[in-house]
């Protein structure tokens, strides 16, 4: 693996960890919707939770794709 590939792998591993962290809190906020009494509160938690889930999942998927691509190119 070249130095550049190692840097990319490091970056992907970091993004994966960050994505998991953000996704976890997105899910918690979505669950919190059930603890909310008002309609505006429910909608707020729903939207905020979905945004966090989207960011977290996006980071995880992107990092997986990078790692997979690096493995494939190294096997070749």
């Amino acid at each position: 693996m070249t130095k550049e590939d190692k840097a990319k792998e490091k970056s992907a591993q970091i993004n994966n960890a960050l994505g998991v962290f953000i996704l976890f809190f997105g899910i918690v906020i979505l669950i919190a919707t059930t603890h909310t009494n008002t309609y505006i509160g429910e909608m707020t938690n729903l939207v905020a939770g979905l945004i966090l889930c989207a960011i977290g999942a996006g980071m995880i998927i992107k990092s997986w794709m990078t790692i997979k691509k690096l493995k494939t190119s190294n096997q070749d």
Binding site: K10, A17, F21, I31, A32, I40, T44
Partner: protein, 499 residues
């Protein structure tokens, strides 16, 4: 007090951020990894880290508090007070620091002037960071006290334990990457708070009308420019001369905690881009922090301490779950400022004091250990000095006042050093020492010299002016360095000039 789900979110956040920071331990093998992240970080992460470190303590708690007391003029600190300086840093200063392979700003000053300037600048920053750590621990304690009901000292110890451990293990990579998470959550929570604040108050027009109706003392709350006779800390003269010309530039160009992040970039392009990206994000910050502070005037008109405005708003307006997350992010912002200071101070001490004066030519692992141990020692100092900030009317004022003791003189010699090849080592040293001494004098006798309550902007300006003049005057009586010696240290000076 918080609901059960909010407690869960706060505790999970604290544990999660600790684990995340610990995870980054795998990327630390050398002192360069610990202090500069192996020079491998991307611009977007660095840019987000610059912003969240800056807004952690200064904006979220302090600026909301100042907006509660004085209105929107405090927003100048993030707009005119940051963006021009960040662009100047990106295009002129950062490339020199990055190309020079430097770890610290004092290291640049040492190469440009001499080792005495380097040591004086480094010691000054170390003392500031050590005292500032106490201020930030105090800010965290105020938050935890308001929202969780925890005693002040317990809150300080919890903050110190969490931040201290992940900074100790993961170095600047942990610092930058935990900042990325903190910024995302802070922005999501912050914009939600702004949206709900306006929803409850009935919109912008209703907010203006209700605040004006409170009485004549609120007549200037919506003036971005305050008159020079204003008794707030933000008259336009102070904003223009003290903030825009001096403090903002000094902060973005000469602040170790900010510049060190740019030095972690994988190449020069990323170093520049990180600062430009950060300036774009910075323009959004006043929107997040001013409005909740203003709405708090209507909802909580009798707060004794303006710094409690934002915590009270979070508790009152946000739904369960998001309260916990917003508070966590808010708290994390403070942690982010603390971790930056811990890592930067460890870098300053190891590279500028320990390595040149105590143990030269040791193995790299030795310096890595010294950096880690310095981090632990600073935690103890920060906890011990935390109560000092309670003597000031607000966290923001406390930090700005501490900065005004040396930012002006430091920026004066940095500016002359990079733009004026004639500036000599003794000119720089004289300017720095006399400028700092003058700032001490102005701060100590501020009541008899200035008419406003907290004159840190004027102190910065006048100490900058004096340091600038002293450096120039002494320079004309002393011998300059050759162009060869200044290669790569002064704007548009190259070795070829000496031939």
């Amino acid at each position: 007090m918080l609901a059960g789900i909010d407690y869960f979110v706060v505790i999970a956040y604290l544990i999660g951020i600790l684990l995340l920071g610990y995870y980054f331990k795998r990327f630390v093998d050398t002192s360069e990894d610990y202090f500069l992240g192996g020079r491998s970080l991307p611009f977007w992460a660095i840019g987000m880290s610059i912003v969240v470190s800056d807004i952690g303590a200064l904006d979220f708690v302090g600026v909301s508090g100042q907006a509660y007391r004085y209105g929107i003029s405090v927003g100048n600190f993030d707009w005119i007070g940051s963006v021009p300086a960040m662009l100047l840093a990106a295009f002129i200063f950062i490339p020199y620091f990055w190309k020079g392979g430097m770890y610290t700003i004092p290291e640049y000053l040492g190469r440009r002037y001499n080792k005495y300037v380097r040591t004086a600048a480094s010691v000054t920053w170390i003392v500031f960071f050590a005292v500032d750590l106490g201020v930030l621990f105090w800010a965290s304690a105020v938050l935890l006290n308001v929202l969780m009901g925890w005693p002040i000292w317990l809150s300080i110890f919890v903050t110190a334990a969490v931040v201290g451990l992940y900074t100790y293990f993961g170095g600047i990579t942990a610092v930058v990457m935990t900042d990325v998470v903190q910024l995302i959550i802070m922005f999501v929570g912050g914009f939600t708070l702004v949206f709900l604040s306006f929803y409850y108050i009935g919109g912008w027009d209703a907010l203006v009308e209700k605040i004006y109706a409170l009485g004549p003392e609120y007549a200037r709350h919506f003036d971005l420019i305050q008159p020079s006779t204003s008794n707030t800390p933000f008259p336009w003269t102070g904003i223009l001369f003290g903030l825009t010309f001096v403090m903002a530039n000094a902060y973005m160009i000469g602040n170790q905690a900010i510049v060190q992040r740019c030095l972690t970039a994988k190449n020069e392009w990323h170093a520049k881009a990180s600062m430009i990206f950060a300036s774009g994000l910075k323009m959004l910050i006043p929107l997040l922090v001013l409005f909740p502070g203003l709405v708090a005037i209507i909802l909580f008109p009798d707060l004794k301490d303006g710094d409690q405005a934002l915590p009270m708003m979070i508790k009152k307006i946000l739904p369960p779950g998001l309260i916990g997350l917003m508070f966590s992010a808010f708290f994390a912002g403070l942690m982010s400022s603390v971790d930056s200071m811990l890592n930067s101070t460890a870098t300053l001490f190891t590279k500028d004091i320990y390595q040149p004066f105590i143990k030269k030519n040791a193995e790299d692992k030795h310096y890595l250990l010294v950096g880690k141990l310095t981090t632990l020692a600073l935690l103890v100092i920060g906890v011990a000095t935390a109560p000092i900030s309670s003597l000031y009317p607000g966290i923001y004022v406390a930090i700005q006042t501490f900065l005004s003791f040396f930012q002006g003189p430091l920026f004066a010699i940095l500016l002359l050093g990079i733009f004026w090849k004639r500036a000599t080592q003794w000119g720089g040293l004289s300017g720095l020492v006399i400028g700092i001494a003058f700032a001490f004098y102005l701060n100590l006798f501020s009541e008899s010299i200035f008419t406003i309550e907290d004159p840190f902007l004027y102190v910065s300006w006048w100490s900058f002016v004096l340091a600038f003049i002293v450096t120039i005057v002494v320079t004309f009586f002393t011998e300059p360095y050759s162009a060869e010696k200044l290669d790569g240290l002064v704007y548009k000076v190259h070795k070829a000039d000496s031939k």
